[in-house]
């Protein structure tokens, strides 16, 4: 499994704005990790309640699956230019 992306580079350029942002995802992930730890007991209780209805398994395995997707985002790059307009999204 890959390491999750550490930085997100965002770039938006049009006639009015020219924004280029470097978002430190490692800090965002640390905050998200704390939230996940706090929510974990509630998720477990909800999983037990919803297990007979068939929604327990997706709820329980959803977290790791989403984390896997997050890790796989490293290397994703979307770069669209048209005239003076530009959109750039890059996970590093």
């Amino acid at each position: 499994m890959n390491w999750p992306p550490m930085l997100l580079q965002l770039g938006i350029k049009n006639r009015r704005n020219h924004i280029r942002l470097w978002i430190p995802l490692f800090i965002v992930m640390l905050i998200a990790f704390v939230f996940v730890l706090l929510l974990a007991p509630f998720v477990l209780i909800t999983t037990i309640i919803l297990w007979p209805f068939g929604w327990g398994k997706p709820l329980l395995l959803g977290g790791p699956a989403i984390f896997r997707c997050l890790c796989a985002l490293r290397g994703l790059k979307v770069d669209i230019k048209e005239g003076n307009q530009l959109i750039l999204i890059s996970f590093i």
Partner: protein, 146 residues
């Protein structure tokens, strides 16, 4: 030299067969040895391990597209495709019917229950051979795996 060829030559040296018969036998086994070589060549070719799916749209210089033409450069990690496809295993059984109906409405008659993990792996590995080149009017579209 294969075992069969050696055996024929041995039979010729022992004068069990004459030159014409040896020639005829060798010509019979030749296509077989040819195919063996070909298979060997194919298997010796290093298998690529694709990492990214690239979609590049560039203005067609021949069609006279200027600087205002759209340029797209998208790089999608193959691991993201794999991880995304694995999410289908988390779909609750009740939701399958709704999803299948929605897909059918879009004109794709496909049952999501038939999508197995091993099929996904095969599908993703088959992407390594993907290469699409479209040249239309003002733009050139190139989809490939690297």
């Amino acid at each position: 030299m294969t075992d069969n060829q050696r055996r024929i030559l041995e039979m010729l040296s022992e004068k069990k067969i004459n030159v014409d018969e040896a020639q005829r036998l060798l010509s019979l086994i030749e296509p077989q040895t040819g195919s063996e070589t070909r298979i060997h060549e194919d298997s010796s070719e290093p298998k690529r391990n694709p990492k990214y799916l690239r979609v590049v749209v560039q203005p067609n210089a021949e069609a006279g597209a200027g600087n205002n033409a759209e340029r797209v450069n998208v790089r999608v990690p193959i691991s993201l495709i794999r991880a995304g496809m694995r999410l289908t295993s988390l779909i609750p059984p009740q939701a399958y019917d709704h999803i299948n109906e929605a897909i059918k409405e879009k004109g794709v008659d496909f049952d999501l229950r038939n999508l197995k993990a091993e099929d996904l792996e095969e599908l993703v590995s088959a992407l390594s051979d993907l290469e699409v080149d479209v040249e239309s009017g003002r733009e050139k579209v190139h989809v490939y795996v690297e």
